[in-house]
Protein backbone atom coordinates (compact mmCIF):
# COMPACT_ATOMS: atom_id res chain seq x y z
CA UNK A 1 0.00 0.00 0.00
CA UNK A 2 2.85 2.37 0.72
CA UNK A 3 4.37 2.28 -2.77
CA UNK A 4 4.41 5.64 -4.50
CA UNK A 5 4.64 6.03 -8.28
CA UNK A 6 6.86 8.62 -9.99
CA UNK A 7 4.97 10.85 -12.43
CA UNK A 8 5.44 14.17 -14.22
CA UNK A 9 3.17 17.14 -13.55
CA UNK A 10 1.71 18.00 -16.98
CA UNK A 11 -1.04 20.38 -15.83
CA UNK A 12 -1.16 22.47 -12.68
CA UNK A 13 -3.75 24.90 -11.37
CA UNK A 14 -3.44 25.87 -7.72
CA UNK A 15 -2.82 22.53 -6.00
CA UNK A 16 -4.75 20.52 -8.59
CA UNK A 17 -2.54 18.70 -11.04
CA UNK A 18 -2.71 16.20 -13.85
CA UNK A 19 0.24 13.81 -13.77
CA UNK A 20 1.69 11.42 -16.34
CA UNK A 21 3.56 8.16 -15.83
CA UNK A 22 4.43 6.03 -18.85
CA UNK A 23 1.60 7.61 -20.85
CA UNK A 24 -1.03 7.10 -18.15
CA UNK A 25 -2.57 10.33 -16.94
CA UNK A 26 -4.57 10.97 -13.81
CA UNK A 27 -5.51 13.71 -11.34
CA UNK A 28 -3.43 14.38 -8.26
CA UNK A 29 -2.92 17.17 -5.75
CA UNK A 30 0.21 19.02 -4.72
CA UNK A 31 -1.11 20.18 -1.32
CA UNK A 32 1.65 18.26 0.49
CA UNK A 33 4.36 19.56 -1.85
CA UNK A 34 3.55 23.26 -2.22
CA UNK A 35 6.74 24.07 -4.16
CA UNK A 36 6.01 21.60 -6.96
CA UNK A 37 6.01 23.19 -10.42
CA UNK A 38 4.69 22.31 -13.85
CA UNK A 39 7.06 19.79 -15.44
CA UNK A 40 8.43 18.49 -12.11
CA UNK A 41 8.80 14.77 -11.52
CA UNK A 42 7.11 13.80 -8.27
CA UNK A 43 6.24 10.68 -6.28
CA UNK A 44 2.46 10.19 -6.15
CA UNK A 45 0.82 8.28 -3.33
CA UNK A 46 -2.97 7.90 -2.90
CA UNK A 47 -3.61 10.89 -5.16
CA UNK A 48 -1.06 13.23 -3.59
CA UNK A 49 2.46 14.28 -4.57
CA UNK A 50 4.67 13.56 -1.55
CA UNK A 51 8.20 14.23 -2.81
CA UNK A 52 10.24 15.46 -5.75
CA UNK A 53 12.17 12.73 -7.51
CA UNK A 54 14.97 12.91 -10.06
CA UNK A 55 14.82 11.63 -13.62
CA UNK A 56 17.17 8.70 -13.03
CA UNK A 57 15.23 7.43 -10.01
CA UNK A 58 11.89 7.80 -11.82
CA UNK A 59 13.20 5.86 -14.81
CA UNK A 60 14.36 3.02 -12.57
CA UNK A 61 10.90 2.68 -11.06
CA UNK A 62 9.11 2.91 -14.40
CA UNK A 63 11.44 0.24 -15.77
CA UNK A 64 10.63 -1.98 -12.80
CA UNK A 65 6.89 -1.53 -13.40
CA UNK A 66 7.30 -2.25 -17.13
CA UNK A 67 9.27 -5.42 -16.34
CA UNK A 68 6.55 -6.63 -14.01
CA UNK A 69 3.96 -6.05 -16.73
CA UNK A 70 6.08 -7.93 -19.30
CA UNK A 71 6.51 -10.75 -16.85
CA UNK A 72 2.80 -10.95 -16.19
CA UNK A 73 1.96 -10.89 -19.91
CA UNK A 74 4.35 -13.69 -20.84
CA UNK A 75 2.74 -17.08 -20.25
CA UNK A 76 4.72 -19.85 -18.54
CA UNK A 77 7.92 -17.86 -18.55
CA UNK A 78 9.29 -19.58 -15.49
CA UNK A 79 6.75 -22.16 -14.52
CA UNK A 80 7.71 -24.54 -17.36
Amino acid sequence: MCLAIPARIVELEGDRAVVDAMGNRWKAKTTLLPDAKLGDLVLIHAGFAISLVDEEEAKKTWQLIAEINDFRDTPNKVSG
Binding site: M1, L32, L33, I50, T61
Partner: protein
Protein backbone atom coordinates in the same frame (compact mmCIF):
# COMPACT_ATOMS: atom_id res chain seq x y z
CA UNK B 1 26.06 -3.35 -10.03
CA UNK B 2 27.64 -6.76 -9.43
CA UNK B 3 30.37 -5.18 -7.34
CA UNK B 4 27.77 -3.59 -5.09
CA UNK B 5 26.06 -6.95 -4.65
CA UNK B 6 29.35 -8.72 -3.87
CA UNK B 7 30.24 -6.05 -1.35
CA UNK B 8 26.88 -6.43 0.41
CA UNK B 9 27.27 -10.21 0.43
CA UNK B 10 30.74 -9.93 1.97
CA UNK B 11 29.31 -7.71 4.70
CA UNK B 12 26.54 -10.23 5.37
CA UNK B 13 28.96 -13.16 5.54
CA UNK B 14 31.28 -11.24 7.86
CA UNK B 15 28.43 -10.35 10.21
CA UNK B 16 27.20 -13.95 10.37
CA UNK B 17 30.68 -15.15 11.21
CA UNK B 18 31.29 -12.44 13.80
CA UNK B 19 27.92 -12.89 15.56
CA UNK B 20 28.24 -16.68 15.66
CA UNK B 21 24.45 -17.07 15.81
CA UNK B 22 21.52 -16.53 13.46
CA UNK B 23 20.79 -12.87 12.61
CA UNK B 24 17.17 -11.75 12.33
CA UNK B 25 16.39 -8.65 10.30
CA UNK B 26 12.80 -7.45 10.14
CA UNK B 27 11.36 -5.55 7.19
CA UNK B 28 8.43 -3.36 8.22
CA UNK B 29 6.91 -2.68 4.84
CA UNK B 30 4.65 -4.88 2.74
CA UNK B 31 6.20 -3.56 -0.46
CA UNK B 32 9.63 -4.69 0.76
CA UNK B 33 8.20 -8.13 1.59
CA UNK B 34 6.83 -8.54 -1.92
CA UNK B 35 9.96 -7.18 -3.61
CA UNK B 36 12.20 -9.54 -1.59
CA UNK B 37 10.20 -12.54 -2.77
CA UNK B 38 9.61 -11.40 -6.32
CA UNK B 39 13.29 -10.77 -6.89
CA UNK B 40 14.37 -14.03 -5.30
CA UNK B 41 16.54 -12.37 -2.66
CA UNK B 42 16.01 -14.86 0.18
CA UNK B 43 17.86 -17.81 -1.44
CA UNK B 44 20.91 -15.59 -2.06
CA UNK B 45 21.36 -14.74 1.63
CA UNK B 46 23.68 -16.58 4.02
CA UNK B 47 21.85 -19.43 5.79
CA UNK B 48 22.19 -17.78 9.17
CA UNK B 49 20.67 -14.50 8.00
CA UNK B 50 16.90 -14.60 8.45
CA UNK B 51 14.40 -12.07 7.18
CA UNK B 52 11.28 -11.56 9.27
CA UNK B 53 8.27 -9.86 7.71
CA UNK B 54 6.85 -7.46 10.26
CA UNK B 55 3.61 -5.52 10.61
CA UNK B 56 4.16 -3.56 7.40
CA UNK B 57 0.91 -4.15 5.58
CA UNK B 58 -1.84 -1.76 6.71
CA UNK B 59 -4.61 -4.14 5.67
CA UNK B 60 -3.05 -6.95 7.71
CA UNK B 61 -2.61 -5.00 10.94
CA UNK B 62 -6.15 -3.60 10.94
CA UNK B 63 -8.02 -5.09 13.87
CA UNK B 64 -10.97 -7.39 13.24
CA UNK B 65 -13.34 -5.05 15.09
CA UNK B 66 -12.61 -2.32 12.53
CA UNK B 67 -13.68 -4.61 9.67
CA UNK B 68 -16.81 -5.66 11.58
CA UNK B 69 -17.76 -2.02 12.19
CA UNK B 70 -17.38 -1.30 8.48
CA UNK B 71 -19.58 -4.27 7.58
CA UNK B 72 -22.28 -2.97 9.95
CA UNK B 73 -22.10 0.48 8.40
CA UNK B 74 -22.32 -1.03 4.90
CA UNK B 75 -25.68 -2.52 5.86
CA UNK B 76 -27.19 0.88 6.58
CA UNK B 77 -29.33 2.46 3.86
CA UNK B 78 -28.09 5.92 4.72
CA UNK B 79 -24.35 5.17 4.29
CA UNK B 80 -21.87 4.80 1.46
CA UNK B 81 -18.52 3.20 2.25
CA UNK B 82 -15.61 4.67 0.26
CA UNK B 83 -12.58 2.41 0.44
CA UNK B 84 -9.19 1.74 -1.15
CA UNK B 85 -9.43 -1.50 -3.13
CA UNK B 86 -7.09 -3.36 -0.73
CA UNK B 87 -9.73 -3.52 1.99
CA UNK B 88 -12.75 -4.96 0.20
CA UNK B 89 -11.81 -8.64 0.50
CA UNK B 90 -10.80 -8.73 4.16
CA UNK B 91 -13.18 -11.14 5.92
CA UNK B 92 -15.07 -10.05 9.02
CA UNK B 93 -17.69 -11.75 11.16
CA UNK B 94 -20.29 -11.53 8.41
CA UNK B 95 -18.53 -11.78 5.05
CA UNK B 96 -16.45 -8.98 3.53
CA UNK B 97 -17.26 -5.63 1.92
CA UNK B 98 -17.04 -7.44 -1.42
CA UNK B 99 -19.53 -10.18 -0.60
CA UNK B 100 -22.06 -8.03 1.25
CA UNK B 101 -25.60 -8.11 -0.03
CA UNK B 102 -25.43 -4.39 0.37
CA UNK B 103 -22.29 -4.12 -1.76
CA UNK B 104 -23.88 -1.34 -3.82
CA UNK B 105 -23.16 0.78 -0.75
CA UNK B 106 -19.44 0.08 -1.15
CA UNK B 107 -17.45 2.24 -3.57
CA UNK B 108 -13.77 1.79 -4.39
CA UNK B 109 -11.81 5.04 -4.49
CA UNK B 110 -8.21 5.83 -5.41
CA UNK B 111 -7.83 8.77 -3.05
CA UNK B 112 -9.43 10.57 -0.13
CA UNK B 113 -10.35 13.30 -2.61
CA UNK B 114 -12.53 10.83 -4.54
CA UNK B 115 -14.29 9.94 -1.28
CA UNK B 116 -14.97 13.61 -0.56
CA UNK B 117 -16.31 14.06 -4.09
CA UNK B 118 -18.59 11.07 -3.53
CA UNK B 119 -20.02 12.86 -0.49
CA UNK B 120 -20.61 16.01 -2.52
CA UNK B 121 -22.35 13.97 -5.25
CA UNK B 122 -24.58 12.11 -2.75
CA UNK B 123 -25.86 14.70 -0.28
CA UNK B 124 -28.61 12.35 1.00
CA UNK B 125 -26.05 9.73 2.17
CA UNK B 126 -23.28 9.78 4.74
CA UNK B 127 -20.01 8.81 3.10
CA UNK B 128 -17.67 6.88 5.42
CA UNK B 129 -14.08 6.92 4.17
CA UNK B 130 -12.07 3.83 5.14
CA UNK B 131 -9.00 5.69 6.34
CA UNK B 132 -6.31 3.02 6.63
CA UNK B 133 -2.58 3.13 6.05
CA UNK B 134 0.57 4.40 7.67
CA UNK B 135 2.12 7.85 7.58
CA UNK B 136 2.23 7.82 3.77
CA UNK B 137 -1.55 7.71 3.50
CA UNK B 138 -2.56 9.68 6.60
CA UNK B 139 -1.78 13.16 5.17
CA UNK B 140 -4.15 12.48 2.23
CA UNK B 141 -6.94 11.75 4.73
CA UNK B 142 -6.08 14.88 6.70
CA UNK B 143 -6.31 17.07 3.58
CA UNK B 144 -9.79 15.68 2.80
CA UNK B 145 -10.99 16.27 6.37
CA UNK B 146 -9.71 19.85 6.30
CA UNK B 147 -11.44 20.45 2.97
CA UNK B 148 -14.69 18.93 4.22
CA UNK B 149 -14.53 21.30 7.21
CA UNK B 150 -13.72 24.33 5.06
CA UNK B 151 -16.45 23.57 2.52
CA UNK B 152 -19.03 22.35 5.06
CA UNK B 153 -19.37 18.85 3.57
CA UNK B 154 -21.10 17.51 6.66
CA UNK B 155 -22.15 14.18 5.16
CA UNK B 156 -18.48 13.14 4.96
CA UNK B 157 -16.72 11.27 7.76
CA UNK B 158 -13.78 8.92 8.23
CA UNK B 159 -13.27 5.73 10.19
CA UNK B 160 -9.66 6.19 11.16
CA UNK B 161 -7.57 3.04 11.11
CA UNK B 162 -4.37 5.02 10.49
CA UNK B 163 -1.32 3.62 12.21
CA UNK B 164 2.18 4.79 13.03
CA UNK B 165 5.23 2.71 12.15
CA UNK B 166 7.72 3.74 14.84
CA UNK B 167 5.40 2.98 17.83
CA UNK B 168 4.79 -0.49 16.32
CA UNK B 169 8.54 -1.12 16.16
CA UNK B 170 8.78 0.04 19.77
CA UNK B 171 5.90 -2.30 20.67
CA UNK B 172 7.63 -5.29 19.06
CA UNK B 173 10.91 -4.60 20.82
CA UNK B 174 9.14 -4.24 24.16
CA UNK B 175 7.94 -7.85 23.95
CA UNK B 176 10.14 -10.15 26.00
CA UNK B 177 10.30 -12.95 23.43
CA UNK B 178 11.15 -10.87 20.39
CA UNK B 179 14.09 -11.98 18.25
CA UNK B 180 14.75 -8.87 16.17
CA UNK B 181 18.36 -7.74 15.65
CA UNK B 182 17.71 -4.85 13.23
CA UNK B 183 15.14 -3.21 10.98
CA UNK B 184 15.02 -2.60 7.24
CA UNK B 185 12.86 0.53 7.36
CA UNK B 186 10.12 1.44 4.88
CA UNK B 187 11.02 3.69 1.94
CA UNK B 188 7.95 5.77 1.27
CA UNK B 189 6.77 6.05 4.89
CA UNK B 190 10.21 7.58 5.47
CA UNK B 191 9.62 10.11 2.69
CA UNK B 192 6.98 11.55 5.04
CA UNK B 193 8.43 10.99 8.54
CA UNK B 194 12.13 11.37 7.60
CA UNK B 195 14.83 8.88 8.59
CA UNK B 196 15.46 10.89 11.76
CA UNK B 197 12.23 9.40 13.15
CA UNK B 198 13.94 6.05 13.72
CA UNK B 199 16.44 7.57 16.16
CA UNK B 200 14.31 6.52 19.14
CA UNK B 201 14.55 2.86 18.10
CA UNK B 202 18.32 3.06 17.74
CA UNK B 203 18.80 5.00 20.97
CA UNK B 204 16.15 3.24 23.06
CA UNK B 205 16.75 -0.33 21.97
CA UNK B 206 20.17 -0.38 20.30
CA UNK B 207 18.83 -1.82 17.05
CA UNK B 208 20.26 -0.64 13.70
CA UNK B 209 17.67 0.98 11.39
CA UNK B 210 18.40 1.32 7.66
CA UNK B 211 15.96 2.91 5.20
CA UNK B 212 16.01 1.41 1.71
CA UNK B 213 14.04 1.74 -1.51
CA UNK B 214 12.16 -1.08 -3.20
CA UNK B 215 14.47 -2.12 -5.98
CA UNK B 216 16.42 -5.33 -5.39
CA UNK B 217 19.79 -3.58 -5.28
CA UNK B 218 18.53 -1.13 -2.66
CA UNK B 219 17.28 -3.99 -0.50
CA UNK B 220 20.52 -5.99 -0.83
CA UNK B 221 22.65 -2.94 -0.05
CA UNK B 222 20.35 -2.11 2.87
CA UNK B 223 20.87 -5.58 4.31
CA UNK B 224 24.62 -5.17 3.78
CA UNK B 225 24.60 -1.86 5.65
CA UNK B 226 22.70 -3.43 8.55
CA UNK B 227 25.16 -6.32 8.71
CA UNK B 228 28.10 -3.93 8.73
CA UNK B 229 26.60 -2.19 11.76
CA UNK B 230 25.92 -5.49 13.53
CA UNK B 231 29.46 -6.73 12.90
CA UNK B 232 30.92 -3.50 14.25
CA UNK B 233 28.61 -3.62 17.26
CA UNK B 234 27.04 -0.32 16.26
CA UNK B 235 23.43 0.82 16.00
CA UNK B 236 22.73 3.94 13.97
CA UNK B 237 20.05 5.30 11.67
CA UNK B 238 21.09 5.23 8.05
CA UNK B 239 19.30 5.91 4.79
CA UNK B 240 20.54 4.51 1.51
CA UNK B 241 17.39 5.72 -0.26
CA UNK B 242 18.92 9.15 -0.75
CA UNK B 243 16.92 9.86 -3.92
CA UNK B 244 13.76 10.73 -1.97
CA UNK B 245 14.31 10.26 1.78
CA UNK B 246 15.66 13.13 3.89
CA UNK B 247 16.37 13.29 7.61
CA UNK B 248 13.46 15.59 8.39
CA UNK B 249 10.97 14.18 5.83
CA UNK B 250 8.04 16.05 4.30
CA UNK B 251 7.35 18.68 6.96
CA UNK B 252 4.24 20.02 5.18
CA UNK B 253 2.68 16.56 5.35
CA UNK B 254 3.71 16.15 9.02
CA UNK B 255 2.14 19.50 9.85
CA UNK B 256 -1.16 18.61 8.15
CA UNK B 257 -1.27 15.27 10.02
CA UNK B 258 -0.64 17.18 13.26
CA UNK B 259 -3.42 19.69 12.58
CA UNK B 260 -6.07 16.99 12.14
CA UNK B 261 -4.91 14.03 14.19
CA UNK B 262 -3.43 13.18 17.56
CA UNK B 263 -1.65 9.97 18.49
CA UNK B 264 -3.84 7.62 20.53
CA UNK B 265 -3.44 4.17 22.04
CA UNK B 266 -4.89 1.61 19.66
CA UNK B 267 -5.30 -2.05 18.79
CA UNK B 268 -3.28 -3.82 16.13
CA UNK B 269 -4.07 -7.27 14.88
CA UNK B 270 -1.58 -9.64 16.43
CA UNK B 271 0.25 -6.98 18.39
CA UNK B 272 -2.60 -5.94 20.68
CA UNK B 273 -2.81 -2.53 22.29
CA UNK B 274 0.15 -0.26 21.49
CA UNK B 275 0.63 3.07 23.19
CA UNK B 276 0.21 6.16 21.00
CA UNK B 277 0.35 4.08 17.82
CA UNK B 278 -2.82 5.13 16.00
CA UNK B 279 -4.17 8.42 14.68
CA UNK B 280 -7.44 9.78 16.03
CA UNK B 281 -9.15 12.95 14.81
CA UNK B 282 -8.66 15.95 17.08
CA UNK B 283 -11.67 17.36 18.92
CA UNK B 284 -12.10 20.24 16.52
CA UNK B 285 -12.71 17.75 13.69
CA UNK B 286 -14.71 15.25 15.74
CA UNK B 287 -17.84 15.78 13.67
CA UNK B 288 -16.01 13.99 10.85
CA UNK B 289 -15.22 11.02 13.08
CA UNK B 290 -17.37 7.98 12.20
CA UNK B 291 -16.63 6.52 15.66
CA UNK B 292 -18.49 9.42 17.29
CA UNK B 293 -21.14 9.81 14.62
CA UNK B 294 -22.21 6.17 14.79
CA UNK B 295 -21.14 5.46 18.37
CA UNK B 296 -18.79 2.65 17.35
CA UNK B 297 -17.15 0.52 20.05
CA UNK B 298 -13.39 0.19 19.77
CA UNK B 299 -12.99 -3.03 21.70
CA UNK B 300 -10.76 -5.58 19.94
CA UNK B 301 -12.51 -8.58 18.46
CA UNK B 302 -11.36 -12.18 18.83
CA UNK B 303 -9.44 -13.52 15.86
CA UNK B 304 -10.92 -16.48 14.07
CA UNK B 305 -9.86 -19.71 15.69
CA UNK B 306 -6.82 -21.27 14.09
CA UNK B 307 -5.67 -18.21 12.14
CA UNK B 308 -2.13 -17.29 13.21
CA UNK B 309 -1.77 -13.98 11.35
CA UNK B 310 -0.95 -12.32 14.68
CA UNK B 311 2.18 -14.41 15.17
CA UNK B 312 3.14 -14.00 11.51
CA UNK B 313 2.93 -10.21 11.89
CA UNK B 314 5.29 -10.28 14.88
CA UNK B 315 7.82 -12.40 12.99
CA UNK B 316 7.35 -15.25 15.50
CA UNK B 317 6.33 -17.86 12.93
CA UNK B 318 6.54 -18.24 9.16
CA UNK B 319 3.26 -18.70 7.25
CA UNK B 320 3.81 -22.43 6.51
CA UNK B 321 3.83 -23.05 10.27
CA UNK B 322 0.13 -22.09 10.37
CA UNK B 323 -2.11 -25.14 9.93
CA UNK B 324 -4.50 -23.23 7.66
CA UNK B 325 -1.79 -22.10 5.20
CA UNK B 326 -2.31 -23.52 1.68
CA UNK B 327 -5.12 -25.71 2.98
CA UNK B 328 -8.18 -23.76 4.04
CA UNK B 329 -6.41 -20.41 3.63
CA UNK B 330 -5.40 -19.45 0.08
CA UNK B 331 -5.56 -16.14 -1.82
CA UNK B 332 -8.84 -17.28 -3.42
CA UNK B 333 -10.46 -18.11 -0.13
CA UNK B 334 -8.49 -16.32 2.55
CA UNK B 335 -9.15 -16.81 6.25
CA UNK B 336 -6.77 -14.14 7.56
CA UNK B 337 -5.79 -10.68 6.34
CA UNK B 338 -2.15 -11.62 5.67
CA UNK B 339 -3.44 -13.86 2.88
CA UNK B 340 -6.03 -11.37 1.57
CA UNK B 341 -3.74 -8.44 0.93
CA UNK B 342 -1.41 -8.73 -2.06
CA UNK B 343 1.26 -7.27 0.24
CA UNK B 344 0.48 -9.66 3.06
CA UNK B 345 3.22 -11.98 4.25
CA UNK B 346 1.10 -15.11 3.75
CA UNK B 347 0.08 -14.09 0.21
CA UNK B 348 3.74 -13.45 -0.66
CA UNK B 349 4.77 -16.85 0.73
CA UNK B 350 1.92 -18.52 -1.14
CA UNK B 351 2.84 -16.91 -4.43
CA UNK B 352 6.63 -17.03 -4.29
CA UNK B 353 7.86 -18.87 -1.25
CA UNK B 354 6.48 -22.38 -1.50
CA UNK B 355 8.79 -25.20 -2.31
CA UNK B 356 8.01 -26.68 -5.68
CA UNK B 357 6.45 -30.08 -5.45
CA UNK B 358 6.57 -32.46 -8.34
Amino acid sequence: MLEQIYKAQRLMDAACEKMGRPINIMEVCGTHTVSIFRNGIRPTLPKRLKLLSGPGCPVCVTDQSYIDSLLELADRDDCLIATYGDMVRVPGKSGSLETKQSSTNVKIVLSSEDALQLAKDNPDKTVVFVAVGFETTAPATAVAVKEAAAEGVDNFCILSGHKLVVPAMRGLLSEKNHNIDAFLCPGHVSVIIGFGAFAEIVEGFGRPCVVAGFEPLQIIEGLGAICQQLAEGKATVQSIYTAVVTKQGNTTAQKIIGECFEAADGYWRGLGLIEKSTLKLKDKYSRFDAVRRFDISEMPAEDKSGCRCGEVLCGLIKPPECKLFEKTCTPDSAVGPCMVSSEGTCAAWFKYGRERRR
